[in-house]
Amino acid sequence: MDPLDTAPPAIETRGLAKRYRKVTALTDCTITVPEGRISALIGPNGAGKTTLLRLLSGLARPSGGEVRVLGGMPRQEPAFLAEIGFVAQEIPLYRRLSAGDHIAAGTHLNPRWDAASVRQRLKSLDVPLGQAVGTLSGGQRAQVALSLTLAKRPRLLLLDEPVAALDPLARRQFLATLADAVAAGGLTVVLSSHLVADLERVCDHLILLAASRVQLCGDIDTVLAEHRVLVGPRKDTTAIERTHRLVQATHTARQSTLLIRGRGPIADPAWESADVGLEELVLGYLGQGAPPAIAHLTTVGEDS
């Protein structure tokens, strides 16, 4: 057994729910993220990604259910906060302060603070340390926010749509910074995004949210192995639905394409079975029709 799997999970929720007056932002959310994973939190706008991350960070309180992060409840306590890094979607920083000011502030506000590494990382990315962060580009600001968060040496890093507003180059640099940090060890990451392709490169775990509910949660390899795409002549699917869960069926005049979950064999030789890719899987869960789902997934910079 992988030693990581015997360690207590970094994140464990059971029946977690968040309601804002009459709006349900998250309901019946039960997930487990083992330590050391980079988890992709995927879902369309309004699926509850931000809400989940805010509940995990302790910025918001649950309306129901249980949440355990790094073995305890998220709470306003220096010892807990020191272990968590959170970068909100809008990348909030003090606009008039420079990156250097933020680094100095962090020194005063955190027990562990690796100022030297932030400076070095930002210098290597050519981010000016003395300039007000409000005048930096979106990519530079995101790098500043991520570097500041990493300087806390957190054990859990929660990133809400960190790459949504970035151009492809900045996005690549950002994810490279993240990958380096994880390679250094002792870090679990949950990263929400619309952009499945980016996440596929860096993530090994998946949480799929849609309509305030968890659709899938697990290691990406395991999840992919549980799903198959069947292509065959258009016909009744009741036989398959008896042994497998039909996630999505798309039909043309002659042909049907089915996304199914379950490892059992398919008796009917008329179906051709194929492995499923992450993007295909996500679209299958999110969209009854693929095109609108694609539109959702590639929309950049919207609230979720």
Partner: protein
């Protein structure tokens, strides 16, 4: 946290210090002139035994300086608007609460540092302005017995510190509840002005029961000594019944500086009204009428300053408590 508070607000602090310094220079220069002018006037009137008329004949301040000093009444409100209102509201607006609250410090410590320094700075700034105004007004207070009068009471002594603490706390609390700066500023101005007016006009006169004094219109009225605060002046009829009282409104006429309400005077005397207070007063005195004033004596000045300051400090404390509960309980 103090480091961050200072880094965030140091420019405001510099501007505030510069404005205060300019104000101090202006008041010190004109205040010294006034003091020496008053001293020489006292010396010369003592020689000629005319000091009784000094208040009527001597003008110490210029209209511009008097206006400027009177306008310091808005200082607490400005502090509430510029320092209190945005303190938390702007952090919510820009999302920086999510940065600050994810550092390894509690929200309680965050609020304590921010609100604590803002309140302290406001108290010091308003206190310095008030100290300058109080010192500058010294000759005027002595000459006109004015420091207990509404308007002067509000800009001298220690009450401006209480007002400033309240205004800043109000701004912080409203900003925390609304999470938006501009509406917070508008509501801060509105609530602060309303409470100041209500407390100043309706409550202050009753902190301690006013004293009463009667006087005869025939003689130059023997009024209270020093800078007492006249709460009301009325007319008492021959049977001892109060026939008019400022609470009833209506016109009044001044006897030795005391405005006496003349709503229900005998018709025979009313026709003498335009011949001057002396004829009018003789007519009233001949018919057995006399004057009645209620007032707060001069020696209650510091008691009243203390009571009013206490009220506003208590309100400020309540508002900070509300803010703390909201910050600790609500989601970021």
């Amino acid at each position: 946290m103090t480091w961050l508070v200072w880094r965030q607000h140091r420019n405001q602090a510099y501007v505030a210090a510069a404005v205060l310094a300019a104000f101090a220079v202006l008041l010190l220069v004109t205040g010294r002139q006034m003091a020496s002018q008053y001293q020489s006037a006292l010396t010369s009137c003592a020689a000629g035994h005319t000091c009784g008329n000094l208040a009527g004949s001597l003008t110490l301040s210029t209209p511009v300086m008097s206006l400027l000093v009177t306008l310091t009444v808005v200082v607490p409100c400005l502090l509430g608007v510029f320092w209190g209102g945005p303190l938390v509201a702007r952090e919510f607006e820009t999302g920086t609460t999510q940065f600050a609250w994810m550092q390894s410090i509690t929200r309680g410590r965050w609020l304590t540092a921010k609100a604590g320094w803002a309140l302290l700075a406001a108290a010091v700034w308003a206190g310095a302005v008030s100290a300058l105004v109080t010192w500058w007004s010294g000759p005027l207070n002595a000459l006109n017995n004015q420091n207990f009068q509404p308007g002067q009471f509000d800009i001298q002594g220690i009450v401006p510190i209480g007002y400033a603490l309240f205004a800043v706390a109000l701004g912080i609390a409203v900003g925390t509840l609304l999470r938006r700066t501009l509406p917070a500023l508008a509501i801060t101005i509105g609530v602060f002005t309303f409470l100041r007016l209500v407390i100043g006009q309706d409550l202050r006169a009753h902190y301690l029961a006013p004293l009463t004094m009667t006087f005869n219109f025939l003689h130059p009225p023997a009024l209270p000594k020093g800078s007492y605060w006249l709460v009301s002046g009325g007319l008492v009829g021959p049977g001892g019944q109060v026939v008019s009282n400022p609470a009833h409104g209506g016109p009044s006429i001044s006897f030795g500086g005391v405005p006496v309400s003349i709503a229900n005077v005998p018709a025979a005397c009313r026709t003498l009204l335009f011949q001057g207070p002396h004829e009018f007063g003789s007519c009233l005195a001949a018919r057995g009428y006399y004057g009645l004033i209620t007032y707060q004596p001069a020696d209650r000045y510091w008691t009243f300053q203390g009571i009013e300051t206490g009220i506003f400090v208590a309100l400020a404390a309540a508002l900070i408590a509300v803010t703390a509960v909201v910050i600790l309980r609500r989601d970021a």
